[in-house]
Symmetry: C2
Subunit: 419 residues, 2 copies
């Protein structure tokens, strides 16, 4: 019999008892931030569950990890604690367990309607790294910027290419994004300066790092999964004109650092496990430090919608899937540490834009409109790049047998540059 | 009459009463970290001075910023607090002021011999950014990697180019650096993999950000100095073989992220002010958002020494100067925020390698040995790149009239890769 909660969960919900993603929230404005898990239309307040003594397993019994302002302390403990918490919460929320179900006072304190809460960043991100792991995205960008001969750089099939991103400007879903100002390629003698004319989204997901590693001690690729707590959706907003002018020779900087939006709920690898699938075969074979015994992706359907200002409806602009990634999460993490670089609990590892092979599965407007050459039709309007007032929403969802394991949404609206 | 301390300070010392740089230290192993300032051969414990009620100015009187584990809270307050603290400390340490001079118990508690203390990172670095602001360095690197035609990218004279660095692997001077492993360019079919064969130092300085700015609110270039607390020496260790193979198209990553060493003492802009000098004339003129009323560098003499394993003596390998920078600190900071990117207190902004025009003033071995083609002679041995056991030490010093304002040293020793 399928696991079922005493809380009624709609079959379309992203948050049944099989999921239980972690986030950080305020139950009412101004109250203290605290960890919670999503269950149907509710958030279960883990600080209340911990206070009630219901985390009674050997690892979490005496831990204060759920009375923190973020999840960093919990994710730092490691997979055994994550498994213990998941088992405890699935038991507590199940239809057959009375401890919470039949305790009206505790239910009242600990179950908060999701539409009342304010969601916050689930972790304090020490360092944010962004990979470049979709072959289709690498090929499309290379073709657009450097031409169709050898669009993918020679190193790409050997290295999970990445760059350091900006941690300070990571924001939670729902935060407005101010159109950045900056320099673009000169058409005459001096560069363009002003609001970006080529503002774009990038459809990504990101891993939240668990325990991490000490400086100088690389993580083995076959143990890398123990350092990944879970995944979120991520919009790596990009100003293509700023990026194109600045990125030689040191990579993207201000074209990205004005804002990066993440979804509030971290879906754990344990919840995603039923949706695991084989990663693409890699040819040439990776170097030994990247050759893993099990090379795993996840079947996570991803969609992007744009709602222009003044319109009532959102328009679907792409459908992609996490399983299009060439380099796996575990290869990304192992590569990141092979030089001794230390990862810390709560670090964020973005996948890079997740584009599929078909034009309707491309993960950003740069690719979808081929750098503005083929505008996208959105009902009575069209888009080469994002306009002020556009609201961009990502969703991600795994379809189970009669249930979903979903990520909710990751959204942001473009507001005009300050004058 | 020159300002003089009741503490005897040798004329060659980097730390007279005119300097008073800030750091964080433990007086004895295992004790709590606390802020201090360097004075001669002593560290003045600011937590003790604050406890004794001697910070009696209006801003710091009731602040707990000196009972923190790092300087982030102090630097966040801003220039008025920095000026108040400097005035208080110069008065307390002066030869004419009895409050500390004549209080033996307080002197005993608050003045710790520098050779007894353990220095720690002075700030918790949220984000670390590295610029590329020496024209000579940009030209040399461009010539080495891309040839002598147009060695400097077209954007360089318009943009203070930078990339995001890795914050987690920033370490304090004296920390050993483990030779990183990684991939290098294939000579046959597969890339090289193993310990880096081209390990290098990069002579840099770095600014410590003060109050910073909110997301979406750029800092005006003419107000940018108020957001810079002070400077440290920085060694941006670089694995040239890893960097050269990985950096297209997203910039340096594992070639840098295995370790970045900073000196322990932050010399404030107020202490450096007597050594201010004009920055180079910029042609073409910068865009209006980078055009500043006063374009200022500092005359800071920089040296690098290498001490090979088993040798008793260090060898001077380069002499450079902070005043070789083309883009100023304030232009770097204003550019960083022009897209709305937020800087936070304690963020680190590296200058990039500071090379002068002459070959003996180049700031890294890549330039000094012209990518290994002209080995450097070090007494009875020679170097193309760093060998295991090499200890690299930077110093930086401003020469005043009868006194120095110095940075002490920034050093690190290369130890072999783990097998």
């Amino acid at each position: 019999m399928a696991l079922k909660s005493f809380i009624e969960v709609h079959p379309d919900s992203h948050f049944p008892i099989q999921n239980l993603p972690y986030g950080v929230f305020r139950p009412v404005p101004g109250s203290a931030a605290r960890p919670g898990v999503a269950i149907g239309d509710y958030v279960l307040d883990l600080s209340e569950i911990a206070s009630a003594g219901l985390f009674d397993g050997p690892i979490l019994k005496n831990s204060d990890c759920f009375s923190q302002l973020n999840l960093n302390k919990f994710v730092a403990i490691g997979r055994s604690a994550w498994k213990e918490a998941r088992a405890t919460l699935q038991r507590l929320l199940s239809s057959t367990e009375p401890a919470l179900r039949d305790n009206a006072a505790l239910r009242q304190k600990s179950l908060v309607p999701m539409n009342k809460v304010e969601m916050l960043l689930p972790v304090a991100v020490g360092d944010y790294t962004d990979f470049f792991s979709s072959m289709h995205h690498a090929k499309n960008c290379g073709t657009i910027f450097r031409g169709p001969e050898n669009p993918i750089p020679a190193n790409w099939f050997h290295i999970p290419i990445a760059y350091h991103g900006r941690a300070s400007s990571i924001v939670i879903s729902g935060t407005d994004i101010i159109r950045p100002r900056g320099q673009g390629h000169p058409t005459g003698k001096t560069p363009y300066f002003g609001p970006s004319l080529k503002l774009d989204f990038e459809l990504e997901m990101a891993a939240i790092v668990g325990p991490g590693n000490e400086l100088g001690k690389p993580v083995d690729v076959n143990e890398a999964a123990d350092h990944i707590f879970g995944l979120v959706l991520m919009n790596d907003w990009s100003a293509r004109d700023i990026q194109a002018w600045e990125y030689v020779p040191l990579g993207p900087f201000l074209g990205k650092s004005f804002g990066t939006t993440v979804s509030p709920w971290i879906v754990t690898l344990d919840a995603l496990e039923p949706f695991a699938c084989d990663a693409p075969k890699q040819e040439p074979p990776p170097l030994p430090y990247l050759a893993e015994k099990i090379s795993k992706n996840y079947d996570i359907a991803l969609e992007v919608q744009i709602k222009p200002a003044g319109q009532d409806e959102s328009h679907l602009v792409t459908r992609s899937n996490f399983n299009h990634l060439y380099w796996t999460l575990t290869q990304q993490l192992a590569h990141h540490t092979i030089n001794g670089c230390n990862l810390r609990p709560g670090d964020l590892l973005g996948t890079g834009t997740i584009s599929g092979p078909e034009p309707e599965s491309f993960g950003c407007l740069l690719e979808l409109t081929w750098n503005g050459q083929k505008p996208l039709s959105l009902n009575e309007t069209s888009r080469k790049f994002l306009e002020d007032g556009d609201e961009v929403t990502f969703t991600g969802c795994c379809k189970g047998n009669g249930y979903n394991v979903g990520f909710g949404t990751c959204s942001g609206k473009i507001i005009p540059s300050h004058p």
